[in-house]
Chain length 167, copies 2
Amino acid sequence: MKYFEDIRVGDTIEIGRHTFTADDIKGFARRFDPQLFHVEEEAGARSHFGALCASGWHTAAVWMRLMIDHRRRESEAARARGEPVAGMGPALGVRALKWLKPVYVGDTVVYRTEVLETRISESRPGRGLMTVRSTGVNQSGDLVISFISTTFVERRPRSPSPPLSFC
Amino acid sequence: MKYFEDIRVGDTIEIGRHTFTADDIKGFARRFDPQLFHVEEEAGARSHFGALCASGWHTAAVWMRLMIDHRRRESEAARARGEPVAGMGPALGVRALKWLKPVYVGDTVVYRTEVLETRISESRPGRGLMTVRSTGVNQSGDLVISFISTTFVERRPRSPSPPLSFC
């Protein structure tokens, strides 16, 4: 990951994309959200969603997975260039988490983050705080999920001060 | 579920409890949040958390499961009493989702919800909106997760108006 100092408000990245299969949707839902429209095609068709669709918590969990994969790719690329890798986390929490449209079988959701705010941490020296808006958009351009989260990011280590000279 | 009219601000319920095992924590994390402190004991011990701990999204997903189980128990009990069951959903989203303490192997989290606000829906006739704060507290009394969510709840069907009488 980039150091805090290298992150700019407005920076936008695509962290990855995921195509939701029926097995994928039902597998998550059987374990964590067994509402019938998340586990049975017929019940989905009869529901107000009109078809089997993913649990909102599933759509959010997929974001987390893609974010981890993205960070690992970034870290590996930095190491390959011989650059240091900044530490990140923990996350402080999430606000304004909205599920705006259902995610159906076969939908491909592209997840992006945009940096909304950066500020130096008052509580943790050596860390900054980065606030990002994360979104997921399906193949029709519909926003399906959106949320805002704030995470600690390591600051660039300061080079030692030059020796004081008295003249 | 209760009809909207039967829900009172301040109503608090325990929806269920869950003990997080190592397999449980690693199983979720391998699929959705493979940060090392969520998948390996040794990495957890070396991390700022001090031990293997659950992904925050896992702690949230367990809430969803317990909430569905709770609603089903409530609905079955109402049907057994010959009472009608109110429809619920969809959820509009979540705000102020905070992971306040790590959830470690062996922790038992008790999940509760408290009704913060009820109001009649302006957009959907026949529905009300219920806003609840959901919390998870571990066996030491520490709050580990907290969030606020708003969901549609069916209103009690009106009995037909008595015939107008002109005198």
